[in-house]
């Protein structure tokens, strides 16, 4: 099974770096959409033996993450008339370096945790952690609200990868709930981004600092 899963995970990791390195918002959104689709694929592959239910979730995830949310975000982007993430708090090259460090940390951290034999040597856990950390890096270093949403999405993607290992613990209902929450969350964020754009004529969240001590 590793033979199929691991390459896909490698793609996800590469997409992480892509997210860290790209300046174009559309590309970033597309990257996260691609991640979403691959995640759906992964879910289907990992649990292909369990039955139709996981497949449904996989499809749902791919649909929401790969299509609905990107569309939402792109619309928001278009409304705001922004295309690029210019002048991030941490430059693109350093971001990539941070991403590399995050990957290394993830690999080490995954080593310290005992896993079931079937997953021994799998990239599942490291990829999950690395994606979460990548999400964090994007969240903390990018100025545009939309990019931050992408970061949040990436973070969620990482957690989703983690969830692949324990599907039986997450029944259908809960899984749907999680996805629904994610969707609503992004939706609400989209609305707020819209308001921010109208109120401040900008999506630069580092300008949102009127509230401080």
């Amino acid at each position: 099974m590793h033979s199929v899963v691991d390459p896909l995970l490698v793609v996800i990791l590469l997409l992480n770096f892509f997210l860290l390195g790209t300046t174009r918002l559309r590309a970033a959104i597309a990257g996260s959409a691609a991640q979403g689709v691959i995640l759906g694929l992964l879910a289907a592959l990992v649990h292909v033996s369990v039955g139709p239910r996981p497949l449904l979730i996989a499809a749902g995830a791919a649909f929401i993450k790969g299509l609905v949310i990107p569309v939402l975000l792109i619309r928001a982007m278009r409304d705001a008339g922004i295309r690029r993430e210019i002048d991030p708090l941490v430059g693109f090259i350093p971001s990539l370096l941070l991403g590399a460090i995050a990957l290394a940390v993830s690999l080490i951290f995954a080593q310290t945790l005992p896993v079931v034999p079937s997953q021994a040597g799998s990239l599942l856990l490291p990829a999950s952690f690395a994606t979460v950390l990548t999400g964090f890096i994007v969240l903390t270093t990018r100025r545009k609200a939309i990019t931050q949403v992408v970061g949040y999405l990436t973070l969620e993607n990482g957690i989703f990868i983690m969830g692949l290992s324990i599907l039986e613990a997450m029944p259908f209902l809960v899984e749907i709930g999680v996805l629904l929450d994610l969707f609503v969350g992004i939706f609400v964020m989209g609305i707020i981004i819209n308001h921010i754009n109208r109120e401040f004529s900008s999506l630069d969240t580092s300008r949102l600092s009127a509230l401080k001590e």
């Binding site: 708090l89 951290f109 903390t140 270093t141 969240t205 580092s206 600092s209 401080k212 001590e213």
Partner: protein, 656 residues
């Protein structure tokens, strides 16, 4: 039965202010109703407090109080009675005084609230000294603090000083209460219960008793106003309505003493250093309290610092009792404790008298600044006479009551001084001269206070328009002045109660009268009185026919500005304050005089509180600045906020 009577008393006083809230604003009926309720309650309370000590009296009561660890358990023992008596007496007298001093006609807005808080304060105080359950104690303690705060800031709208005093008070008292929470926590951990349970000797080994004692000193010491924890006391006493000041000084601060007594009574063999600490703090409070008082220009602030001084004397007695217990000298326990408790009464009596007198002056003249007063003895002769009695009593002058209790402490200290044990005689050897110094300074201070306020010429126009205080204000003062004479002239009457209290505290000494010949004080008082009367009569008869006509004081040929060139409060105390300048750090702004005809300029001197103004406020300011600097944490950037989360996560992951 008797204790139920006390409960009724507590209830009556507690609700006494409530009806007043519902009377129309113009009707003075409310204040009368609440005075009657409070008066009834106080008289009942006084009666039951003593009745509980009779043999066969039911002195304790326990009811369910459904709070974890809580029980409505109250008990009246001799210690409680010693404190209950001044609570009810001073509350009663203060409320009568308040009928005129804070009359409904003058204070239609704040009057009802003040009477509400007054009643609540009285009830809570009574509960504090009878509560057996520690949670009940704490609850009553907090109500006391709150009512006191509200009574103190009742004129908050117009009086910024009172607001500041209230702030300092509430912070200090709250900090003290937190220390008490800690203390009761320790007590709970050591005894497993929520009552005043004696500690086992084993508790001393794991440091429980040490923690208990230190927290008690911190918590109760703050309430009592022991140096250097007294910071709240001067502003609060100075700015409260005067009868509230009287009650605060007379009983509220004594709650700290009560607490210290209760807590130390729980430990069978207190370490010797406890006594040393309490005695040392007592000496410190006594000397610095009176020294600071000397530097004050504000009459009520001066009285407030004398509360610190007298708490110091009380603590010296208490410290001596603790030393006696540590060294197993029952006679020292008895003398120290009896002196301490007797002084609690006496201070309550004469300090209330003084505050009420000061209140009369403030009401009639409108200022507390001593340097604006003067000559009031001719305008308000009765107030002046009564204040004089209080002043003589607080200086510990025979034959008044202050002397009687200080006498007990002195005997105790002298007895300690003849002991073989080096620590004991060191205590006596330091304590007795220190007490003498305190006494001498007090004489100087009250000579200044009485002299500047009541004697000489009016320094400004305000005092010359003053009228004598009314009967409602004079009557309570007359009672208190009478008590000064009675307790000082016949101190032996309180000996049985003090004996019982000492017994309750764990002393097994022979009766007080055997060790301290209080009866002889009565004899000498009488003797002194006779001699004074004889000489006085002689002088009276001889000078009855003084030269007629209007004669001023001989001015040594310099007749200009007689009123203005009098000695003022500041100049009178100047040389003494200078002697203590190394610790008091008085602030003096004097003009530089140049040339033969210097221009008019101003001289200003004040003695700030060493702890509050010179240490605590700067410390708080510095901390505040440091805190302001720390505020960059909340810098408004969401990126930083998210980073905090990540960092916390990483730190916690790496920690374990």
């Amino acid at each position: 039965m008797t204790v139920r009577l006390l409960l009724v008393a507590i209830l009556l006083t507690g609700i006494s202010g409530i009806p007043g809230l519902f009377f129309p604003r113009k009707s003075p009926l409310g204040e009368r109703v609440s005075a009657v309720l409070l008066g009834t309650g106080c008289l009942l309370g006084l009666f039951s407090a003593f009745a509980c000590l009779l043999p066969n009296a039911a002195a304790s009561l326990e009811a369910v109080w459904p709070v974890p660890g809580g029980a409505f358990a109250i008990r009246v023992d001799a210690l409680s009675t010693v404190f209950l008596a001044p609570i009810f007496l001073l509350s009663l007298l203060g409320s009568i005084y308040g009928l005129e001093y804070w009359s409904h006609a003058d204070h239609p807005r704040s009057g009802p609230s003040l009477r509400l808080f007054w009643g609540g304060l009285t009830a809570a105080l009574a509960l504090v000294v009878t509560a057996q359950n520690t949670l009940l104690f704490l609850a009553a303690w907090e109500v006391t603090a709150l009512c006191n705060f509200l009574a103190l800031t009742v004129e908050h709208r117009h009086d910024a000083e009172a607001r500041r005093a209230g702030l300092i008070y509430i912070i200090a008292t709250h900090a003290a209460t937190l220390a008490l929470f800690g203390m009761f926590g320790v007590l709970h951990a050591a005894t497993g219960g929520f009552s005043w349970t004696p500690l086992a000797d084993s508790a001393a080994k794991n440091g429980s008793t040490t923690a208990l004692f230190l927290l008690a000193v911190l918590g109760f010491g703050t309430k009592a106003g022991i140096m250097p924890l007294h910071v709240w006391l001067p502003p609060a006493h100075a700015n409260a309505p005067s009868h509230v000041s009287a009650l605060m000084s007379g009983v509220v601060i004594k709650m700290g003493i009560y607490g210290l007594l209760r807590v130390t009574s729980l430990v069978a063999h207190p370490p010797i250093w406890w006594g040393g600490v309490v005695l040392g703090l007592g000496i410190l409070s006594g000397i610095l309290g009176v020294a600071l008082a000397l530097g004050q220009h504000d009459l009520k602030r001066l009285l407030a610092y004398h509360s610190v001084e007298n708490i110091g004397i009380i603590c010296m007695g208490l410290g001596l009792a603790l030393l006696g217990r540590a060294e197993e000298r029952p006679e020292l326990v008895a003398l120290g404790l009896a002196g301490s408790l007797f002084h609690v009464w006496n201070h309550g009596v004469f300090k209330s008298l003084l505050f009420l007198g000061a209140g009369a002056v403030i009401q009639r003249v409108g200022t507390r600044e001593m340097d604006r007063l003067g000559g009031l003895a001719r305008k308000m002769p009765y107030t002046a006479l009564l204040f004089f009695v209080g002043a003589a009593a607080i200086c510990g002058l025979p034959p008044l009551n202050g002397f009687a209790s200080e006498f007990l402490v002195y005997i105790g200290l002298f007895r300690a001084a003849v002991e073989k044990s080096g620590r004991l005689w060191l205590a006596g050897g330091l304590g007795a001269p220190a007490l003498a110094l305190v006494g001498a300074l007090a004489v100087a201070c009250f000579a200044k206070a009485y002299g500047v306020v009541f004697l000489g010429l009016e320094r400004t126009a305000a005092p010359s328009r003053a009228r004598e205080a009314g009967p409602m204000m004079l009557a309570p003062m007359i009672v208190l002045a009478g008590l000064c004479f009675a307790l000082g002239g016949a101190p032996a009457v309180v000996a049985p109660l003090l004996d019982a209290a000492v017994h309750e505290y764990g002393g097994g000494a022979p009766s007080l009268l055997k060790m301290a010949p209080l009866n002889f004080l009565s004899v000498t008082a009488l003797f002194l009185l006779v001699v004074v009367l004889v000489l006085g009569l002689y002088l009276y008869l001889r000078t009855r026919r003084a030269l007629p006509g209007s004669i001023g004081t001989w001015d040594c040929g310099y007749a200009a500005g007689a009123a203005r060139i009098q000695y003022t409060a500041s100049s009178f105390a100047d040389s003494l304050v200078r002697l203590f300048a190394w610790v008091l750090r008085p602030l003096v702004r004097e003009p530089k005089l140049t040339g033969p005809f210097p221009k008019p300029s101003k001289f200003h001197s004040e003695t700030p509180d060493v702890v509050l103004d010179l240490a605590l406020v700067p410390a708080i300011d510095t901390t505040g600045r440091a805190f302001s600097w720390l505020r960059w944490i909340q810098l408004g950037s969401i990126h930083a906020y998210l980073l905090y989360i990540l960092l916390t996560l990483l730190v916690l992951m790496l920690w374990k």
